[in-house]
Subunit: 337 residues, 2 copies
């Protein structure tokens, strides 16, 4: 009988999910609103709506199949416990609640899904780790035992694989490479500290760099006509393709800081390859070339010219659903091995 897994991608606005086979083919998909449930007291209603929609999806296929498991990618997900812990953008305290107790914002989603799907395997990790396993199962990291995944979105996410296994760490939260310090005392980060890599290397980071450069450089630039509030990182790519000096310098700086940080990461895990995924990675040579150059320039000699810097092999718009479902296929593979 055909085997399928459900992949669920939980974002601040929507929760998308789909039925995926072991080759990464999507058989059906759907979506529920996450945003409709803004308060932490809404969480049970969210679970009810999500599980009902998951059952509807599972029943929608016209052929018989075996549901092998449910994989979830979610922010602040603890792989070991299956709990979403204190998410920054999900299920907040009611407006006006004074002195809120953060310990209440713990959401045991894996257990709640298992109640609705008794006997079905369920696994959860953060979205970057899910993308990493997706790359290993469906993408360009097939067969690799040691690699690093860098996801460039609003922030910088990462996943580290060593000895063929995801590094979840003792507490289940490993792989926060966006929060190594790139510039000590540097830009303010949403995490409350300063100079984190993602404040420079991410869609938001390159935008901040462009605005800094508009102050420090005098060259004309098409980017000078766009207000901060309307600015998005894709505009830097477009401007770079026109030869815009500020856009090109912003990419060089972004690649410099990412290259430095990757050269350090290589000394720790010595990967076969590093993958770049997400919006900024689609800027192609503008991001890959300076990153590669600064990485090699700063690499310890034993690792020089050994580590491949590659684009992700998963270009589908359903990458996040695929990544989440890959959590299950990874499990199936390990049991079979």
């Amino acid at each position: 009988m055909k085997k399928l897994a459900i992949g669920i991608d939980i974002g601040g606005i929507n929760t998308a999910f789909g039925l995926v086979d072991e080759n990464g083919d999507l058989y059906a998909d759907s979506v529920v609103s996450t945003k409709k449930f803004p308060l932490f007291t809404d969480y049970p209603a969210y679970v009810a709506e999500l599980t009902e929609s998951l059952h509807a999806l599972a029943d929608s296929l016209s052929f018989e199949y075996e549901l092998v498991g449910i994989g979830i990618g979610a922010p602040n997900a603890n792989y070991h416990t299956g709990v979403i812990e204190h998410p920054a953008n999900l299920w907040k305290f009611p407006v006006g609640e004074t002195n809120p107790d953060e310990s209440r914002r713990m959401f045991p989603l894996v257990d709640d899904i298992k109640k609705a799907f008794p006997g079905v395997e369920c696994r959860m990790t953060n979205d970057a780790n899910a993308a990493t396993i997706g790359e290993m199962i469906y993408g360009n990291a097939k067969g690799m035992k040691d690699f690093i995944m860098i996801t460039l979105g609003t922030g910088l996410g990462s996943g580290f694989v060593a000895n063929g296994e995801m590094i979840y760490g003792h507490d289940g939260f490993a792989g926060e490479f966006g929060h190594v310090i790139a510039v000590r005392g540097g830009r303010q980060c949403g995490c409350g500290r300063r100079g984190c890599l993602e404040t420079y290397v991410s869609a938001t980071g390159i935008k901040r760099t462009v605005f800094e450069l508009m102050a420090t450089m005098t060259e004309p630039s098409e980017l000078r006509d766009i207000p901060f509030a309307n600015f998005d990182a894709a505009m830097v790519s477009t401007a770079a393709s026109h030869g815009d000096p500020i856009a090109l310098e912003a990419f060089r700086i972004t690649g410099e800081l990412l290259g430095y940080a990757l050269a350090d990461a290589v000394t720790i895990t010595s990967p076969e390859a590093i993958f770049l995924f997400g919006g900024l990675a689609k800027s192609g040579k503008y991001i890959f070339e300076p990153t590669q150059w600064y990485m090699e320039e700063n690499m310890m000699s034993v690792f020089k010219n050994k580590v491949k810097l590659l684009p992700s092999g998963i270009q589908s718009q359903n990458a996040a659903i695929l990544g989440a479902s890959a959590l299950i296929w990874q499990e199936v593979k390990q049991l079979g091995a």
Copy 2:
């Protein structure tokens, strides 16, 4: 029948080896000179003397036992291939050889030992990785699946364990944490780059810091009477215990840079504990307190107050032999599991 493993520790001056049981008890040990064989053309003679001495050691016990394997800790050891690649301090080119070809300095020690001990398991890794496995088998990391080992000697070595397994990396050389960049454009490092962590955090590093501070600070210090060439790191400990201001400031700076670097490492692998091993670690509170303080001060909030900073549990003067033998016991354990 009693089972024993041989552990071999290869240093630039001596090669020490011993017979060790699974509890870390040493039954016999011996030593041969490494220094006697300075040229790369001497390597076959070194192997002959070493294997002969190993056989003599193996035959020296008065009871019958099973030799389960031979573990080796050596600089520049490739775990995957069993080859010592381009070691900095072993088997150099003959004096006066012009235009030497580095590719000849590859020493397949595991294969050579296996020829002398047919059918016996043999494994080799670098000394810091061997110490890491020693900690896991005999020391304070027993039962831990995720931890980091920092060895503070002339340089800074490290071993990273995730999911209960040593991270050797794709090329077998992972764990070079002494060569993450602590200060961009900083002190010259033996690796040819600048600002590597070990140029600040190691016996040599703290010595360099003391000499810098003698220039920048005006306070009196007992260390001002010692010439650079006669100076060793233990003197900084002694001076610190007298309240010497330069020694205390040198430890603070060392702990600051190590704490920063460890806070970054935690974001990647999220360990349960970090162990400090070796000469500088014996300075106790002088190194532990500032390291802990700066690590926590710079820790991403999700990891704050979660990671233990601990001394190594292996205090024996035979730590290096024990670590090397642990490579074999680790293997035995995994086969039994």
